[in-house]
């Protein structure tokens, strides 16, 4: 009897928690969860702090000098007396290298993403992904060093022939394809097979000759170009496109993967080829996700510092003519990085605060584009999941 009693007692202490203990546990749980929440909101606090502290040092600039000079003037002489803080040419420089890198990286990135998600067999995909990750992992200063020490002299000494070969290698296959397809489009209405084929050959030959002439003349014109300085907008755009590519590829690949099998199979069942399925079905379905990818990739190029600082030439002027990528430019990030060392000595002056105004501009642009891309991704997910 006694043994049994002690056994039940033991069991009750072992399995049933006393009220006091339970209270402690409950307090501990609430406290712990509150702590977790605080730590998780740390990120939000940091974001607020970044906005506050950058804005706090940016506002005095606008108080001292007003808005119009910063956004409309191209005279950038911060160290002169009287100083001039026209940042238009610098903003334009940032825009220029960003657009340049996007022009190179966006088509290539989207096509590579399609290739990864729909064309390559899984065994090869395994090896392609680490390549992209490595491309993303290389530090920006290493890219900048490459741009300055390897690419810039190459462009300066053999720029014309490099451009010519790039033109031929990239454009020639495209033009060939365009010739074949247009000839086919023109002749596809002809019912009689024999005359259609004959007409097709004639048209192909005709377009082909025109194309070869275009290729040749543009190529020779490019080869005659003299590049005065290898540290120019083209150099930076090429390197920045390397840096934007991994983001564009991985985010658009996710977007393409999110498009279900049903759409693909439906398209194949209707007799479409793989290319037609991709262009007519997959890309429209994934378009918003790809747009988000492009925004993120472009932001990476806009916010990049070291490459543009080292290899853009850092001359604050708008190139003549405005699309001349062979001239040196100066960007917002490079200006902040380069001038802070001297402006730091004169804390409180317009020269110091104007750099923070530039930082605020970058911050606001990145914030807005992030919000947009995030909205896009959320909306796409909702649409694809069928709500």
């Amino acid at each position: 009897m006694a043994v049994e009693e002690s056994f039940t007692n033991q069991r009750s202490t072992a399995f049933v928690i006393s009220a006091r203990k339970r209270a402690i546990q409950k307090v501990g749980k609430t406290f712990g969860e509150a702590l977790l929440l605080v730590i998780a909101s740390f990120v939000a606090i940091v974001v607020l702090f970044i906005f506050y502290f950058v804005a706090r040092d940016a506002v005095p600039y606008f108080q001292i000098r007003g808005f119009s000079e910063f956004f409309t003037s191209t005279d950038w002489y911060p160290a002169d007396d009287p100083p001039a803080f026209g940042a238009l040419s610098i903003i334009y420089g940032s825009l220029m290298v960003t657009v340049g890198s996007a022009l190179l990286a966006v088509p290539m990135g989207i096509i590579a993403a399609i290739c990864l998600s729909d064309i390559l067999p899984f065994s090869i995909r395994q090896y392609a992904k680490p390549v992209i990750e490595m491309l993303a992992a290389i530090p920006s200063v290493a890219y900048g060093f490459f741009a300055l020490v390897v690419l810039a002299p190459l462009l300066q000494n053999n720029g014309g022939s490099i451009l010519m070969w790039a033109w031929w290698i990239i454009v020639a296959p495209f033009m060939t394809l365009v010739v074949v397809v247009t000839a086919d489009l023109f002749t596809s209405r002809i019912a009689d097979r024999k005359s259609r084929n004959r007409f097709n050959y004639v048209l192909t030959a005709l377009f082909g000759i025109v194309t070869i002439f275009i290729l040749y003349f543009v190529g020779t014109a490019l080869s005659k170009l003299q590049i005065l300085s290898g540290t120019n907008a083209l150099n930076v755009s090429i390197i920045l496109s390397f840096m934007a590519l991994p983001t564009i590829v991985s985010v658009s690949e996710d977007a393409l993967q999110a498009v279900g099998r049903e759409l693909r199979e439906g398209s194949y069942a209707l007799g479409a080829t793989r290319a037609e399925t991709i262009v007519n079905v997959l890309l429209p379905a994934a378009s918003s996700g790809i747009l988000a990818a492009v925004i993120l990739g472009v932001m990476r190029a806009l916010g990049e510092t070291m490459v543009v600082w080292m290899a853009s030439g850092n001359s604050a002027h708008i190139p003549q003519p405005w699309f001349n990528y062979l001239e040196s430019v100066r960007t917002l990030t490079a200006t902040i990085a380069g001038d802070m060392g001297e402006a730091d000595q004169v804390t409180g002056s317009a020269r110091y605060h104007v750099l923070f105004a530039m930082g605020l501009l970058l911050l606001v642009i990145s914030f807005i584009s992030n919000l947009i891309s995030e909205r896009i991704v959320v909306r796409q997910r909702k649409i694809l999941s069928g709500n």
Binding site: A40, V131, L135, A137, I138, G144, I278, T333, L362
Partner: protein
């Protein structure tokens, strides 16, 4: 459209896809190969006797007895040059003033290029800077300087419409008829005997401090600074990030507050790196005053903020990848939620969390912009662990920039720059490679 054309389009589309992937792989190769090839040259190279002299005098390494005998052998051939120089100086004194002025300038150029090649000439005052105390330490550089000695560089500006082109004139021509004429063929023939080139493995490039702002010596202070900054950043960011990820995956309830936190996370991930640097300067240094001026701790904190979103995101993914059955089994055995997280979910997610951590570590090590205003100095010695709170440090990433763009002799020090870039890339890519391997193992394990 014709079926043949449709097929062609399909094929060319596939080719385009492969092509763009090939271009990306090529881009990787084009960037890495020159850096790797030339970077290795910072450690393995053909060193001259000047290199051995420098090592012995500045770092007290090498065999002094062997060096003395080598130096004597080299001096035997150099003595002839010195006697030729003094012979010409005597001849110069005897010339008429007009000719003398003409030759004096040219002779000065010869002397300075000889000095660059062989080190200080006897009878000259001892140089102040260490960089002028020795001749060329590397055989490839020595050959460049030999070319400078033998040929005079001139620019052809005859065509005003094109860029001027450079051409070379033999210096021996301009000294024709003087006693110095013999000097040039003599140097050209006996350069190997004077410089004694020998294949060298210079491990000091990794383990030694630099002498006279990277002219000689190695990059150890930079490597150490990079490690301090990156590990310091991890120390702050990793625990915070993992805890935040636990909250997001296990505790957060969907709602406005939660989606705001997530927006904040992705905003932070998109902030340009230079803005982090400005924030670090304005907040950690000017407001919180964690240190009087730049310091390792300020840099680490700034980097920590920068890598936090990456860590959170990868830890979240790793936790979500843990099969639900693990969690359910643990809960059904009566363990509490927290207990389940600590004993079941985290251990299962650990490799994935570590993968993200390793990648972030690489990013922190490679990033430059956030540490420009907060932690990096261009010249400095290695700092002790106790100095991290109040002293700045050189770091690989910043010093690559500084040496390549701002150093007064950037063109002379390419081998050091390549060596630094290779060191940085090796660290970062090895970290990433280990992450990739780790992840491959996890996915194998999860597949069963």
């Amino acid at each position: 459209m014709n079926l043949r054309t449709r097929k062609l389009l399909d094929r060319s589309f596939t080719a385009l896809g492969f092509g763009s992937l090939v271009v990306m792989a090529l881009a990787l190769l084009v960037v890495i190969v020159p850096i790797a090839v030339k970077g290795i040259g910072a450690v393995f190279f053909t060193g001259t006797i000047e290199h051995r002299k420098m090592l012995s005098a500045e770092f007290h390494t090498g065999d002094p007895r062997e060096l003395t005998s080598e130096a004597a052998a080299s001096e035997r051939y150099r003595a002839n040059i010195y006697s030729m120089l003094s012979g010409f100086e005597g001849e110069l004194d005897r010339m008429d003033p007009e000719k003398k002025a003409e030759y004096k300038n040219k002779y000065g150029q010869v002397k300075s290029s000889l000095q660059a090649l062989l080190g200080p000439l006897p009878g000259e005052p001892a140089p102040m800077l260490t960089r002028f105390k020795y001749g060329q330490t590397r055989w490839d550089k020595a050959q460049e300087k030999l070319h400078d000695l033998l040929y005079e560089t001139k620019w052809d500006t005859s065509n005003p419409n094109a860029m001027s082109t450079e051409y070379f004139v033999r210096r021996a021509e301009s000294f024709k008829g003087t006693s110095l004429e013999k000097l040039f063929p003599y140097v050209e023939q006996n350069i190997e005997k004077m410089m004694l080139p020998k294949f060298t493995f210079y491990s000091g490039f990794i383990t030694e401090s630099s002498v006279d702002s990277h002219f000689f010596g190695g990059i150890w202070p930079e490597i150490q600074g990079t490690f301090f900054l990156a590990f310091g950043a991890m120390l702050f960011a990793f625990p915070l990030g993992v805890i935040a990820a636990i909250y997001f995956t296990e505790y957060a309830k969907p709602g406005f507050f939660n989606s705001m936190l997530r927006s904040a996370n992705s905003t932070l991930a998109g902030v340009p790196s230079i803005v982090f640097g400005m924030f670090g300067l304005a907040f950690f240094i000017n407001t919180l005053k964690v240190s009087d001026s730049k310091s390792v701790i300020a840099g680490s904190l700034t980097l920590a903020i920068m890598i936090l979103p990456t860590i959170i995101r990868s830890a979240e993914e790793a936790i979500l990848a843990v099969p639900k059955t693990y969690k359910e089994a643990s809960l059904s055995l009566g363990s509490t939620k927290w207990n389940t997280i600590i004993t079941v979910i985290l251990p299962a997610a650990l490799p994935g969390i570590l993968t993200g951590g390793v990648i972030s570590l690489g990013r922190a090590a490679g990033e430059t912009a956030p540490i420009i205003f907060t932690a990096a100095v261009s010249v400095g010695s290695a700092i002790g662990l106790a100095d991290v709170f109040n002293s700045p440090t050189p770091a690989l990433s910043w010093n690559i920039y500084n040496l390549a763009s701002e150093h007064e002799a950037a063109g002379e020090l390419r081998h050091v720059q390549y060596g630094m870039v290779l060191a940085l890339i090796t660290v970062v890519l090895l970290l990433n490679l280990s992450a990739i391997i780790l992840r491959a193992r996890i996915s194998k394990k999860l597949k069963g």
